[in-house]
């Protein structure tokens, strides 16, 4: 066996740059994905059949197709229709659309898991639908949604490695480039795995604390 991590350690600054890009993609796609998810969930439970079916088709199509195909359509497919997105835009947008569909389902389930009596009680004291959603249902649904959302956030961070295929030089692609010059596949891939693990662990610790704090409330 002939493992040599010293070569890779010298490349650590480049890998950390990759981590930064990964975090950037993940952050913006999750931010956007949350917006899509909240909007999607509200459409899904609305009484307007048009909104309900739009949200339904969104979730259906995205959940039923691979995230890689979705990204490729955005980045390699759309230029044929005259829409050219930068790799970063396509990557973030694609991941956001993808994670947004799952978040739609998470939030919808969270809202529907709140006891029906809560909405009735809120309405019975004279609140309108919006006030009831924001002040009564929302906070309770948030608490229910946090564990599955944490899962989804972790999934998205890992899925961001697929953005390497649309030429974004994030952590995974940075690693591949190092392999081209060093031929140290095992070392590089294990280092990449460790870096993903660290990023996710930090996030999990933060989420865990948040969850505990909310449970005390």
């Amino acid at each position: 066996m002939n493992l040599d991590y010293s070569v890779i350690l010298s490349k650590l600054p480049i890998l950390l740059d990759g981590c930064w890009v990964t975090l950037e993609i993940s952050f913006f796609s999750l931010l956007l994905g949350m917006i899509f998810g909240i909007a999607g969930a509200l459409c899904r439970i609305s009484s307007n059949p048009l909104l309900t079916s739009i949200a339904f088709f969104y979730v259906w199509i995205i959940r039923g197709t691979p995230v890689m195909v979705q990204l490729f359509i955005l980045y390699f497919g759309l230029p044929q229709l005259g829409i050219k997105l930068s790799s970063m835009t396509a990557g973030i947008l694609g991941l956001a659309i993808n994670t947004g569909a799952y978040i739609t389902e998470i939030i919808r389930a969270g809202i529907q898991a709140v006891d029906k009596g809560q909405m009735e009680a809120a309405l019975s004291v004279g609140m309108n639908y919006r006030q009831a959603m924001v002040r009564i249902i929302g906070p309770q649904a948030t608490k229910i949604c946090i564990p599955p959302l944490v899962n989804q956030f972790i999934m998205t961070l890992k899925n961001s490695s697929i953005a390497s295929l649309v030429t974004i030089t994030e952590l995974f692609r940075t690693g591949e480039q190092i392999i081209y010059t060093t031929f140290r596949s095992f070392e590089v891939y294990t280092i990449i795995a460790v870096l993903y693990l660290i990023m996710n662990s930090v996030f999990m610790i933060i989420a865990d604390n948040l969850e505990k704090r909310m449970a005390r409330q």
Binding site: D115, G117, Q118, E120, A121, A122, L123, S124, V125, G126, M127, N128, Q131, R135, I136, P139, Q140, K143, Q217
Partner: protein, 243 residues
């Protein structure tokens, strides 16, 4: 003679099931009405139609002389009608005090100071001055229901609807809630109470309504209904619940 609530020929169904059929009810201000009847007779639905938690399919509904339909300002209607639920439905993420001030703050736009002062008085009235900072899960069922009553009263309603307010309580906790309701009745509140508590009905109500299968079978004073029921269905119902 104007009524606070008028229901005229109200019809309501859930799918193929007729819940209320050609239902009529007039309530005078200050009146205390108890509705009794077997489960599934439509008692709760009557209450839920009054504050429009359930839309009616046909018939007319008036509140304080004004007709209520889909286009009415339902928030304004409901702000004037207090409702107490079988399962309390307190807001679990808010303390007792926060539960009571929520609607005055959000719906009425009261200042926090005024809402809190009012809430503290109400919580004292229902005997819970020492529980203002407690969350619902830290309270017994009876205490939760009394907070729920205070929450409804905080909007200063013209009428209070009670939907089986003691049915979800342990037997030893029923008394404290009934006592609170009795005090409210003595203050002159207009009340419609769906309940199985015949003692309460006897003592507090001006009128008892016996419902079955979506219609009023018989109504009258507590003495008329409990001592001298005329209808067979009323007699057999009363016999069943007394055993």
């Amino acid at each position: 003679m104007s009524y606070i609530v008028e229901m005229q020929n109200v019809y309501k169904s859930f799918g193929a099931v007729d819940v209320l059929k050609d239902f009529n009810l007039n309530l005078q201000e200050g009146e205390k009405v108890v509705i009794i009847g077997p489960s599934g007779s439509g008692k709760s639905t009557v209450l839920r139609c009054i504050n429009h938690l359930e839309p009616i399919q046909s018939g007319k509904l008036y509140f304080s002389g004004q007709q209520i339909d889909e286009k009415s300002d339902l928030c304004q209607l409901r702000a004037q009608i207090g409702m107490v639920f079988q399962r309390f439905n307190l807001f679990p993420h808010k303390t007792a005090l926060e539960n009571v001030i929520e609607a005055p703050l959000v719906v009425k736009g009261m200042t926090r100071a005024a809402a809190e002062q009012n809430a503290l008085e109400l919580l004292q009235k229902v005997g819970l001055s020492d529980k203002t900072g407690s969350y619902p899960r830290e309270l017994s069922g009876g205490q939760q229901q009394r907070v729920a009553i205070a929450r409804a009263l905080a909007m200063n309603p013209k009428i209070m609807l009670f939907d089986e307010p003691t049915s979800a309580l342990d037997p030893e906790l029923v008394g404290e809630v009934l006592l609170t309701m009795k005090a409210l009745a003595e203050d002159g509140m207009t009340m419609v109470v769906v309940t199985h508590e015949m003692g309460f009905a006897r003592e507090v109500s001006d009128r008892v309504i016996f419902m079955d299968q979506g219609v009023i079978v018989e109504e009258g004073s507590p003495t008329e209904i409990f001592e001298y029921p005329q209808q067979e269905r009323t007699k057999s119902f009363l016999k069943r619940i007394r055993h």
